[in-house]
Symmetry: C2
Subunit: 240 residues, 2 copies
């Protein structure tokens, strides 16, 4: 059994840590290849439950330091879930569209907020960071296992598949504030790259929206802007 | 001249990269000790401007690899600003209160959003991560140089200094939604630690507030929750 550091080209990836591995077992049991357990993992009721769960699902448990030395040498990690990557397709309804996101942690953080606001369909326009990077999975706190993510080669490909969507593009050059934007369903919230934002042409086929802020900063951080957008567009669904 | 990797105990810190160093020169010129420039830095109009600015301000420029090897060995960084840490005091008005934040990047991201929404006074309750950690400065994108941050040993110390504030504590156990919270000035928005949140007792001396979300996630990421809170509480100030 060969254990490889994660690379985009592999058809499997890793959930690093017990919490993420539980989320993997809960939402994607059919994709689990095996579970690695560190010899340093203490016996406990939680450990017993993990073994029992793997037993019931017919998932092999491998004990040993090797996987941890290779996959998470610096971290406080005692359980790793190895899983098959699966190609996903997003469905109808509301979408998040991320154009050229470049940071794995940001992508995971956005997936976490999206799951929190019921926006489980995420389109990613290439070139873009890998959704199955263990750093994305980690930052998502497991939300990566219960959102659908589909990659598109271009925004045109996305629009051709979903011609009926109302696209809202978050842009610093927009003249309509998020506070005054009329929300029409089914909406897609479109966000650009961390450094570059969205190209100006997006204003031609999207309603452009700005989150107004002071001149003290050039822009909001991408996951922050995306999260404020998701919060504002879904707030009527999440009243107590 | 000794160059040390950053440690909390030092009375100076570093802005890594040209963008951050420009923010440092703009907002805290009096605290700059010197600027390090890599021999790999290309001559350009921007480089000329940097040298001219340092000349005008009487700031020494040191050329050489050494600082870069020690302070930022892996990064694409050609300019470093070394600066004296200064003790700050927050003033009156609106505050952000961060109780036991533990992640440098999160603290910087929150400072960036706070600067964006005009909330330039940040109280941090110990134990807490170091605001002058270069990773905090980096994540703030320079906002660290134009917000005021003051550390308190306890929330009691903070309350004793600012007895007139209306405290809003963001808690998963709150029964009032952010959408229905009446905002009274001058407010302080209080957020807990990444993993633990705020202790239940905070509900006794704060109005507790929740950002409602789906059961798909346990909680929002700290900088996301803090940013949504800041956005919602200041939105009337940032209409176009």
């Amino acid at each position: 059994m060969k254990i490889s550091r994660y690379k985009k080209e592999l058809d499997y990836s890793y959930a690093l840590g017990a919490t993420l591995t539980w989320e993997l077992l809960k939402y994607r049991p059919e994709s689990v290849i095996r579970i690695y357990v560190s010899p340093s993992l203490k016996e406990s009721a939680a450990t017993e439950r993990l073994f029992a769960c793997c037993g019931e699902l017919g998932i092999g448990v491998v004990s040993g330091e090797k996987a941890f030395n290779i996959l998470s040498p610096k971290e406080n990690c005692f359980v790793i879930g190895e899983f098959k990557k699966t190609e996903q397709r997003i469905g109808e309804g509301r979408h998040i569209v991320l154009v050229n996101p470049s940071d794995a942690g940001n992508l995971g953080t956005i997936a976490r907020t999206a799951a929190g606001f019921g926006l489980e369909n995420i389109a990613v326009v290439r070139p873009a960071v890998d959704f199955y990077d263990p750093r994305t999975i980690r930052a998502s706190m497991g939300a990566a296992f219960h959102v659908n993510v589909e990659y598109f080669d271009s925004i045109e490909d996305y629009r051709a598949r979903f011609p009926q969507k109302r696209l809202y593009a978050f842009m610093l050059t927009a003249s309509v504030s998020i506070h005054d934007t009329e929300i029409r369903e089914p909406f897609s919230l479109v966000f650009g790259n961390e450094a570059a934002g969205l190209p100006d042409e997006y204003a031609e086929f999207c309603r452009s929206v700005i989150i107004p802020h002071s001149k003290g900063i050039d822009s909001l951080n991408l996951p922050i802007a995306a999260s404020i957008g998701m919060y504002e567009f879904t707030k009527n669904d999440f009243r107590l």
